[in-house]
Amino acid sequence: MNRRDSLKALVVGGLAATTLVEACKQPAKENAAETATGNQPDQSDRMAEEKAYAKKLAAEPKFFTDHEMATITVLGDIIIPKDDISGSASDAKVPDFIEFIVKDMPNHQTPMKGGLRWLDLQCLNRYNNSFIDCSHTQQMEMVDEIAWPKKAKPEMRQGMAFFSLMRNLTATGFYTSQIGVKDIGYMGNTPNQWNGVPDDVLKQYGLSYNEKELKECISFDKKA
């Protein structure tokens, strides 16, 4: 097979892959529908050990109390609110992600639980209310004490560490969701649409493809 033929074969291979992706969509939809009803076999493409592990985690009793979950939800939406481009942390189910991740990675359990407690104690002392029962202005006043590492007072350091962890977990939960992936603009893994780095981007950095690359590299919009 010469080079040209192998390129053609690649195009054919690409089309076949597209068909496969289409074929896979159907069961995924069914799966999603079944998820809504709450009892379905795990059809994800995972090893049996992983499935058993996920099932075991899901069967564990809730780690966070309802009060703690409500606090996580408020904090998450302060960190990542809805804006012009995308939804909020709770839209992306970040609180569920955090409940999952502390079971998956127990090293986060004490810093999270203790941090939530720290926050409520602070708010009780200041405002005579737990964090979620404070007014929005009070909540933001409290958050401003712990959200800015370089400005935070020394006695706020533990709260600052908790807020940084909360920000990290919220960011991971949000940007690994569909909403977040779209927001951040991660397009990689989009098959059969690669025509090289766009011209305007190459120009921006003073780069260009050479003739050999242009001649030999495949162009999908023309051939596929």
Partner: protein, 304 residues
């Protein structure tokens, strides 16, 4: 749990370097008091892994990148093979390493966007100087602004196989099947530590010259062996059932066949005498193919 015994005309171990050594060392009998195929005493010895050290940072010239179909950069895109073989006499360590690169628009995974407070106070975002940390719509803007500007470098090199780096059967501990486990005696020599130092100096030079700001891996020194990963971390363990032409100094011949027991083969990382800085899997496949052809040939001749 049910115990089974299976008989075979030929036994081929491909259990991974340490597990194959463990099987052999645990297979003691009156005939093979040191473990089967171990009259040389080398089984378990010469255990070695690839070396590894890493560094990374961000490229300010890539802030606020235009989005397009890119799945991040990895070893498939950019790779530096060992380049100083011709000048090795001038180095203070004997073996080479290669460099793998990562970064760009990587898929968001666990840990994505952690530690934003180390970035968003240090660089202007869309021309605006902000306070480190924060929350809200402004924070979302920061996450978008810094996405795709990271770069990482990973060095993977050759460690020296030494007799005094070894695993052996633990006399006191068994696994859940009641089978004695291994215990390990491995540590790096000066060679690997000096190689890691060279890696770190090289990474720093490349990152600095390309305009990157190093954000991690730059605080290593003598106190932590220049960030050299512990033996075993790079998961290229090899050398525990080494091959060689001298039955007194090796366990296998060049066909991965035991010198002592002709119908016993070991075709995993155990058979390596040394490994280059490359990942060992392809060589395992090649050696397995040679062993397979030899087994077929020897079976036809009724030698095994």
């Amino acid at each position: 749990m049910q115990e089974y015994q299976v008989y075979g005309r030929t036994v081929i171990l491909a259990a991974s370097a340490c597990e194959s050594a463990r099987l052999m060392l645990n297979s003691k009998s009156q005939r093979y008091p040191n473990g089967i195929g171990n009259s040389s005493g080398v089984v378990g010895k010469y255990l070695h892994d690839s070396t590894g050290a890493d560094m990374g940072g961000i490229l300010p010239q890539l802030f606020d990148r235009k989005r397009y179909n890119e799945d991040g950069v990895g070893g498939m895109h950019v790779y530096t093979p060992w380049w100083l073989d011709a000048k090795k006499d001038k180095l203070d360590f004997p073996r080479g390493y290669h460099i793998e690169y990562g970064g760009g628009f990587d898929m968001p995974l666990y840990g994505f966007n952690w530690g934003i407070e180390q970035l968003n106070g240090s660089y202007k975002v869309k021309g605006k100087q902000k306070e480190a940390g924060g929350y809200g719509a402004s924070l979302k803007e920061d996450y978008r602004f810094f996405f795709g500007a990271s770069i990482g470098m990973a060095g993977r090199g050759e460690g020296i196989a030494r007799e005094d780096s070894y695993c052996e059967i633990d006399p006191d501990v068994v696994d859940k099947y009641g089978i004695p486990v291994l215990r390990f005696h491995t540590q790096w020599s000066d060679y690997e530590i000096k190689q890691a130092k060279h890696m770190k100096e090289t990474f720093k030079e490349i990152l600095t010259n390309m305009g990157a700001v190093i954000t991690w891996g730059d605080d290593d020194g003598e106190h932590n062996n220049w960030g050299l990963h512990n033996p075993g971390n790079i998961i290229h363990e090899a050398g525990t059932v080494r091959m060689g032409s001298d039955p007194k100094r090796s366990a296998l011949n060049k066909y991965s066949q035991s010198h002592d027991v002709k119908n016993l083969f070991c075709v995993d990382g155990g058979q390596f005498v040394s490994q280059a800085d490359k990942n060992i899997t392809w060589t395992i496949l090649a050696l397995s193919m040679r062993a397979s052809e030899y087994i077929v040939d020897q079976m036809k001749k009724n030698n095994i």
